[in-house]
Each structure stands twice: as structure tokens, then as C-alpha cells.
Amino acid sequence: MSAFDALRIAGSGMTLHRKFLDAVSDNVANINTAAAPDQEAFKERFIVAQANDYGSGTGGVRVAGAAFGSGEGKLVYSPDNPLADDEGYVRLPDIDLGTQMTNMLIAQRGYQANISAISRATDAYQAALSLGKNL
């Protein structure tokens, strides 16, 4: 346990949710990224959250890694696309925009919850620092 631990822990939550948000925006940005049919489509990325030393006391959360969706995607008829094969198909990622928007909200709200935890911890630490000030 170090000084101002609550701030460090909430900060780790903010980092995790920001990375979650980064992954979601990357997925949305690549929602129309085409690939040739014989190649893999863009794979949607998920963040793997893991509690730091769960139960032993250090607290906080970290990004344990990334998980990827399927590269199979879907074949779309788009003969104008330079990547299209002889039959006019390209491979697009099979990313559901609704899921991505929901994940974005989850990440955003999680980020906000950690910000309020920080502001409450700051109030408490601020009060502790004024102990015995007016003696």
C-alpha cells in the first residue's frame, strides 16, 4: 500500500477503459476495410481486462492482452473495388456496428465512473492534508 492508492487504482481503471475505447474506435474505423477474398478480413479487437493481483491487496486493473474476432468476415459483391476477385467479390469485416456502439457506451461510462472515484478520493486526501493546519 502506498500513499494515494485510491487515485492510482482509479487511474488504472481509466487507462483500461481508455484502451477499451481505443479498441472500439479502431473497430469502427475499419468497419469498411476491404480485403481480397483470399485474404483475412480486418479482425475486430477486444481488450482483456484483468484485476491486478486479485484479492491480495495491490488493487487496480490492467489490460492483460487483446482478443481478436474472426477474420472470416463476409463476402460482398463489389466489382468496382480494385481488390475484387474475378467474380467481383471482396471480403469485408463482419463487425456489428450496434455491438460496437454498445461497447463504446460501456467504456465511456466506465471511464466516467473512475473519474468520479478520483474526485471523491481527492476530496478525502485534501481533507487529510489539512489535518492540524489551524493549530
Binding site: M1, F20, G59, A127, A128
Partner: protein, 117 residues
């Protein structure tokens, strides 16, 4: 009798330490609000403090214990409830300030006693 390290000061110190621990645990719960399989932590220092005070012992600072909440989990195995965490964190912050003010009052009293005219 007022002493510098008397039971009141020790009890307030123990309360401050327990409340700080609860705030840290609450912070941990909020940080892990989206971590699959995470069970919310709950801090208890009051029962220790109460039994120490009622048996007349000087309270031990840092006598809080953390256990995992057994509340129902979501489908991802996580049972952090953001509503109750917010209430716990707010209440803990206010109680922390209350204990600090009581400690400040104690120190005011001591400093008044030490002042000559």
C-alpha cells in the same frame, strides 16, 4: 484525562485507516467494473474497532478485513454494482472528513491546553 496518544485519538486513527482502506477497495471495485469474473470487495473495520473499544483495549490501526461480496453476478461473472459503489464511496468520503474534523477538534483542545495565556 487528555493524553496525546489516548484512546480517542487511537480510535479516530483506526477509523481513518479503515475508511481509507474502504475507499481504496471501492476504487478497486470501480476500476474493475468491466472485468469478467471480478467479485466486489467489502471492507469491515467497524466490528474489530467496536469489540476493542468495548473491551477497553487501545484500538489497533489497520485492523480492517476485506472479503468478497457474494451478491448475484452478471453474466460475465462480475458483481460490481455501480450504484452501491457510488453510495459507499460518497459515504466513506464524508465519514472520513467527519473523523478528520473530530481529530482536528481533539488537537485544538490539546493545543489550547498547551498554550500559556
Amino acid at each position: 484525562m487528555i493524553g496525546i496518544g489516548d484512546t480517542t485519538t487511537a480510535a479516530l486513527h483506526a477509523a481513518l485507516s479503515g475508511l481509507a482502506q474502504r475507499q481504496r477497495v471501492s476504487s478497486d471495485n470501480i476500476a474493475n467494473v468491466n472485468t469478467p469474473g471480478f467479485l466486489a470487495g467489502r471492507t469491515d473495520f467497524e466490528s474489530n474497532l467496536r469489540s476493542e473499544l468495548s473491551s477497553g483495549d487501545t484500538p489497533v490501526v489497520g485492523g480492517g478485513s476485506v472479503h468478497r461480496s457474494l451478491a448475484a453476478t452478471r453474466t460475465d461473472g462480475n458483481n460490481v454494482d455501480l450504484d452501491s459503489e457510488t453510495v459507499i464511496a460518497t459515504e466513506t468520503g464524508l465519514r472520513y472528513q467527519l473523523a478528520l474534523q473530530a481529530l482536528n477538534g481533539k488537537y485544538d483542545l490539546l493545543s489550547a491546553a498547551m498554550r500559556t495565556q
